[in-house]
Amino acid sequence: MTTRPTGIGVIGAGFISGIYLTNLTTRWEHVRVVGIADLVPERAQARAAEFGIAALTIAELLAHPGIDIVLNLTIPAAHADVCEQVIAAGKSVYTEKPLALSRDQGRHVLDAAHERGLQVGCAPDTFLGAGLQTVRRLLDEGIVGEPVAFRARMTTHGHESWHPDPAFYYQPGAGPMLDMGPYYITAIVALLGPVRRVSAMARATWPQRTITSQPKYGELIEVNTPSHIEANLELESGVPGTLMTSFDLWDTEHCSFVIYGSEGSIRLPDPNTFGGPIRVLKAGESTWADVPLDHGYATNSRGIGIADMAKSMQVGEPIRASGALGLHALDVMLATLDSAEQGRHIAIASTVERPASLGPVSPEDVAPTHTMTYRGETLG
């Protein structure tokens, strides 16, 4: 079957658009980037020139007949509005995380798309990388038996020592949970299924932080959201776990992520990356063994989520990095903050199917290439 490549239009020409465009213009033949738009036309023009695509206004992009999916790379506060505009224009949308800032906004986006028969996809797509897909295979093959528990810790001391403009990290909509939680929660749900209940405690250790990076060195940041969150998560499968995210701690281990099974344990890679390392401890043993990655996309493959979305729409299958997954992740993150604030356990109203594994990917896909073997079908 020959299908014309899915046309992609990008809204938002900021920093993150670089890696998306690099990957989407070189790695997959079944997608074609048509154009890019930004509130600041010069930024769109610069990216357009760099990647040999068209610079468009947002209105032109939304009206373009060759664009099937819009990649929404705007700031988090604009995600839901832009998604709705895209849907109103009759196009499917894939948005950077988070899907929205509130559950209602997120649900509204999904409902609007559903009414029009359109699709919504949502980052992160790191769970489709070589690292987490290899973990998925280990779990599916029962290498560590049945899942028993998990433990995830994201330990940093914030971003004011290196980020040029770090104030947003400490405002509602960010903080360590909404900023980094999407990677952890999406990985947990993709590997172990949806979350049923959470309980959490949180604090903002410092009401103000001092910027020590340039150019705003010495400026104070008001902290308006918890900067340290300790959460318990119970999955629908009954598996309990913990998720700690912090901008308040001094540590040398910034990511610690373990899935415990009845027959052993898996130390996962940082879910904000696409690669490894992966280590397995078998029951009764005292040393962890390295597990080689056996899937493609071990390098920064941002864009694989929308590439998968395009392919899934072409063949009529469910998309993996879906809006429903994004909404569930958002629901869980907000529930941890609500739980901490209200001092009670909170049942998660949303649920989602565990996305299908990517399946074996041929060795040539490990390197950037124009040929892609995808679910046994050679594309391009």
Binding site: A200, M201, L249, W250, S265, S286, W288, H345
Partner: protein, 406 residues
């Protein structure tokens, strides 16, 4: 010899495995106490221990009636802790219970009330927090080396006892499980270092409804599991510090004893709180390397009995004891709150409060009474000087870092 300087007479009830280290330490380490006799429900066990340590084997009744015994060290199984404590107190003896103080809160409270009513002392293990390792952590915290504490990561993780313990049934029943059996060390250590808990929010389950013994004479037998064996709890302290406490018999892990205290200016990796010694590691703000902090304080070997010795000291000098039953009760309260929170699916406030016990005195751990001269603890001026020099180095590091960055 005046009554005030007469050694405190000790009676041991329970001659099981743990009695060996207690008897070894109590009969050699401390001159202010004298072990008089040992009793057990199985007379042969009491006789064997008595022979081994040159003591008198007694029945429990004889021991409780013995005029020279002032303090009963209760090493029975947890289910018997409260009953023996009541009987000892009624008989006019002070009591030191192996952990936990009691299984039920109500029994714990009654032990404290009865002791108060009778003008006697009640205390309980664990006493590992009096060891050199955790006392060194205490010193680092009190010296402000990591600034105000911010958060805690406490996790004990193993795969239970059925592959090495010959008779592991007890571990999987209410009153044991990973929280009551091992978590008690973590909760006690944290309370002694950071002050009392104020709230918990937990989830728990028994991942495996039964376990199979894979060693010894009962190899192949099934053990029913009637208490949660994987417990995760968010914890909050009265000071505002929050953290996580994991207690599990259900996971395969090599990092089996994790206790980390995060502070505003750095982080301390504490030793296994089930042990008396180190190692201790310190990370200072903005640094990428952990420093091992030498533990040059006394009591780093297996010093079980240290708590009983402190209680005996307090009996003589009338001061507070570091292992006072109020601490044991708070720990019991926290452990119950965690299980209740998991069972009910709601946050549970911890009602009881306790003061942090006083730190051990680096040079005179048990010397505030008139028994100083008789103490045989290996505490010398040299050790204190060594400790002081470590603090100086650490403070210098902190000062250099802060002056560089602030």
């Amino acid at each position: 010899m005046s009554t005030a300087s007469k050694p405190v007479g000790i009676g041991i009830v329970g001659a099981g495995v743990i009695s060996e280290i207690y008897l070894k330490n109590l009969s050699t380490m401390f001159a202010h106490m004298k072990v008089i006799g040992v009793a057990d429900v199985l007379p042969e066990r009491a006789e064997a221990r008595a022979r081994e340590f040159g003591l008198k084997a007694m029945t429990v009744d004889e021991l409780l009636a013995h005029p020279e015994i002032e303090l009963v060290v209760n090493l029975t199984i947890p289910a018997a802790h409260a009953e023996i404590a009541f009987r000892a107190l009624e008989a006019g003896k002070s009591i030191y219970n192996e952990k936990p103080l009691a299984i039920e809160r109500e029994d714990g409270r009654r032990i404290l009330e009865l002791a108060k009513e009778k003008g006697l002392r009640a205390g309980s293990s664990p006493d590992t927090f009096l060891g050199g390792g955790l006392q060194m952590v205490r010193k680092l915290l009190d010296e402000g080396v990591i600034g105000a504490p911010v958060a805690v990561n406490a996790a004990l993780r193993n795969h239970g006892m059925e592959h090495w313990h010959p008779d592991p049934f007890f571990f999987f029943q209410p009153g044991a499980g990973p929280l009551f059996d091992v978590g008690v060390y973590y909760v006690t250590a944290l309370t002694s270092l950071l002050g009392p808990f104020s709230k918990v929010a937990a989830m728990a389950r028994a991942s495996f409804p039964e376990r199979t013994i894979t060693n010894g004479p009962k190899n192949g037998e099934k053990v029913p599991v009637t208490t949660p064996t994987h417990i995760v709890s968010a914890i909050e302290f009265e000071s505002g510090v929050i953290g996580t406490l994991t207690a599990s018999f259900d996971v395969w892990e090599t990092d089996y004893a994790t206790l980390v205290i995060y502070g505003e200016k750095g982080t301390i990796r504490c030793p296994d709180p089930n042990m008396f010694g180190g190692p201790i590691y310190l990370l200072l703000k903005d640094e990428t390397k952990w420093h091992e902090i030498p533990v040059e304080l006394p009591n780093t070997e297996n010093s079980r009995g240290l708590g009983a010795a402190d209680l005996a000291r307090a009996i003589r000098d009338g001061g507070p004891s570091r292992v006072d039953g109020e601490l044991g009760y708070h720990v019991l309260d926290v452990m119950h709150a965690v299980l209740e929170s998991a069972e009910r699916g709601e946050d549970v406030a911890v009602e009881s409060r306790v003061e942090r016990p006083a730190p051990m005195d680096a040079t005179a751990a048990l010397s505030r009474s008139d028994l100083d001269h008789a103490l045989r603890l290996k505490t010398t001026e040299r050790l204190e000087r060594a400790a002081e020099s470590i603090y100086r180095d650490v403070k210098k590091m902190v000062k250099e870092k802060t002056s560089h960055h602030d």
